[in-house]
């Protein structure tokens, strides 16, 4: 991600009087281009009835700048994506040091942790999502442009 452009766009939202609605991360499994998986991170803002978001694809280890200089309330979301996804957020105004959720398993939503869980499920015969989801709608699919496929694979159903 281009740090300067990103922070400039965040600051535009701040100056425009938008409210931070959400920072959300989604893990994407490994692909040929990204063997370690990646994260789809969304920064969403609300003003009156408008809802807009910025989206970045982050590779594990990438540095993601904190937006807490513009939106002080971002610290909760940023601590969350750091604890649950292992995303390297830097420059937080409030660093809770991994003590926000105190989950028993550290970084439960990292691509490798998800893959390990799903593979273990498959090995144990527990019905769950497939460790290798279909390539098609992954990433950029949007609701309006992707009708529900009628012959989707029955993922992860073993034995």
């Amino acid at each position: 991600m281009d740090r300067t452009t990103f922070l400039a766009r965040i600051e535009e939202y701040h100056m425009g009087g938008w409210r931070l609605a959400l920072i959300n991360a989604t893990s994407a499994m490994s692909t040929e281009e990204q063997p370690g998986g990646s994260f789809d991170v969304v920064w969403a803002f609300v003003k009156d009835n408008a809802f807009e978001y910025l989206r970045e694809e982050i590779v594990p280890g990438d540095e993601v700048p904190s937006i807490s200089a513009s939106f002080p309330a971002a610290f909760l979301y940023e601590n969350e994506i750091r604890e649950l996804f292992g995303i390297n957020v830097t420059g937080l105004n409030v660093d809770l040091g991994g003590q926000l959720y105190k989950t028993a398993k550290k970084i439960p939503f990292s691509p490798s942790a998800i893959r390990a869980r799903l593979e273990a499920n498959a090995a144990a015969g527990i019905a769950s999502a497939s460790p290798t989801p279909p390539a098609g709608p992954h990433g950029a699919a949007h609701a309006a442009s992707s009708p529900a496929p009628t012959s989707a694979p029955t993922a992860g159903k073993t034995a």
């Binding site: 009087g17 409210r19 931070l20 609605a21 959400l22 959300n24 989604t26 893990s27 969304v42 969403a44 609300v46 009156d48 009835n49 809802f51 978001y53 939106f71 002080p72 309330a73 610290f75 909760l76 809770l96 003590q99 926000l100 959720y101 105190k102 989950t103 439960p108 939503f109 998800i114 869980r117 799903l118 499920n121 527990i126 019905a127 769950s128 999502a129 497939s130 989801p133 279909p134 098609g136 709608p137 992954h138 699919a141 949007h142 609701a143 309006a144 442009s145 992707s146 009708p147 529900a148 496929p149 009628t150 989707a152 694979p153 029955t154 993922a155 992860g156």
Partner: protein, 361 residues
């Protein structure tokens, strides 16, 4: 000055659920607060890996026992957006009515807890007695008092007959009259005012910079209400967001008091406007598996909730995320606690109407 650290929670008389705030004090004044959650983190978002999308709605409802209906509704709305499903009209109106009944229920519950926190036991009991009547309505119409499970992807599972809806309206209007008496105690009692006026003041600028939502933001003069966007038939309802300007604890109480009456008015309009008759379609079940993503925003009793759902064409969703109103209001709560007296901390924390189950999921 020497600083003392007092852990507030996880168990405290005003906290129905566990959260810890490490309060850093100079004498009796709080100078900083560090939150820790995670005592009831159940990992519900992770369950999309093992629960099929058709059943996940029932898990989502169990995020919280107070907003359960609207959690289920938000999940179904997200899937309906992704799968391009048109929900039958009567189902949409029923959802709106149940959502507003949830709001009354939640506010009455909170008003009771608030009264209990500032030492008004009888007021607490009156609020909760009225809440029981709302739960009776839920039980009669959905079959459940806390977990309703009437939302399905594509509509609702149960119909409520026109006669029953008319009877509910009569019941709610009677409740509204009784509620006026109770509300006047909150609004006029000098000891309550003494405890709440000028305590925990959040300015409109701070409400925006801390990204507050719901009654918290509206009590500070921000006319923010997701329902104003007009989705889910709210464009057909005549209402204005309840706004107070003082920004203190009493203003947050006042917003909720007025919203109870507002919700009864909204239900009245909805029953008047919805299509009448027996056997109208309630469900338009989608086929196949979802592919795509959706953000859904709703105005829950505690404020705006944002759901994010991402589906990849299989039975299992790739991601479900609920950003609940309490999560959004925590930065404001921390800001309010800084600089206040230790004795005011319980009331300040309570007036954001914290729901820790929602926050942690």
């Amino acid at each position: 000055m020497k600083r003392t650290v007092i852990p507030f929670g996880p168990q405290h008389p005003v906290l129905p659920e566990p959260i810890v705030l490490d309060l850093i004090l100079e004498d009796e004044r709080v100078v900083d607060a560090v939150p820790t959650i995670g005592y009831i983190h159940r990992g519900l978002e992770m369950m999309v890996e093992r629960v099929e999308y058709t059943e996940m709605g029932f898990v989502v409802e169990r995020i919280c026992g107070i907003c359960s209906f609207m959690h289920g509704m938000g999940y179904c709305l997200s899937l309906e957006t992704i799968m391009n499903v048109e929900v039958p009209d009567r189902a949409k109106w029923l959802r709106l009515i149940w959502a507003e009944i949830s709001r009354i229920q939640s506010h009455l519950l909170w008003l009771g807890l608030g009264a209990d926190a500032f030492g008004f036991e009888n007021l607490f009991m009156h609020c909760w007695r009225m809440r029981e009547e709302i739960l009776d309505i839920f039980e009669k119409t959905t079959g459940g008092r806390v977990i309703h499970s009437v939302n399905r992807i594509g509509g609702v599972k149960r119909d409520v007959s026109d006669a029953e809806l008319a009877a509910i309206l009569v019941r709610l209007e009677e409740l509204g009259k009784a509620f006026k008496k109770t509300a006047s105690v909150f609004a006029t009692d000098p000891s309550i005012a003494h405890r709440l006026v000028g305590v925990g003041v959040l300015s409109p600028e701070d409400a925006l910079s801390t990204a507050s939502v719901g009654p918290m933001a509206r009590a500070s003069g921000l006319a923010t209400d997701t329902r104003l966007g007009g989705a889910n038939l709210y464009d057909q309802i005549d209402f204005q967001p309840v706004v107070e300007t003082a920004g203190d604890c009493l203003a947050r109480v006042a917003v909720r008091l007025r919203e109870v009456e507002q919700s009864i008015g909204i239900i009245r309009q909805a029953i008047d406007k919805m299509p009448k008759g027996e056997g109208l379609p309630l469900e338009n079940r989608p086929r196949g598996n979802p592919a795509g993503e959706a953000f859904t925003r709703l105005e829950q009793p505690r404020g705006e909730v944002v759901y994010y759902v991402k589906a990849n064409g299989t039975k299992y969703l790739e991601r479900f995320r609920a950003r609940t109103p309490t999560f959004a209001n925590i930065p404001a709560m921390i800001q309010l606690v800084k600089g206040c007296e230790l004795a005011d901390v319980p009331n300040i924390i309570l007036t954001i109407d914290p729901c820790i189950s929602c926050t942690e999921r």
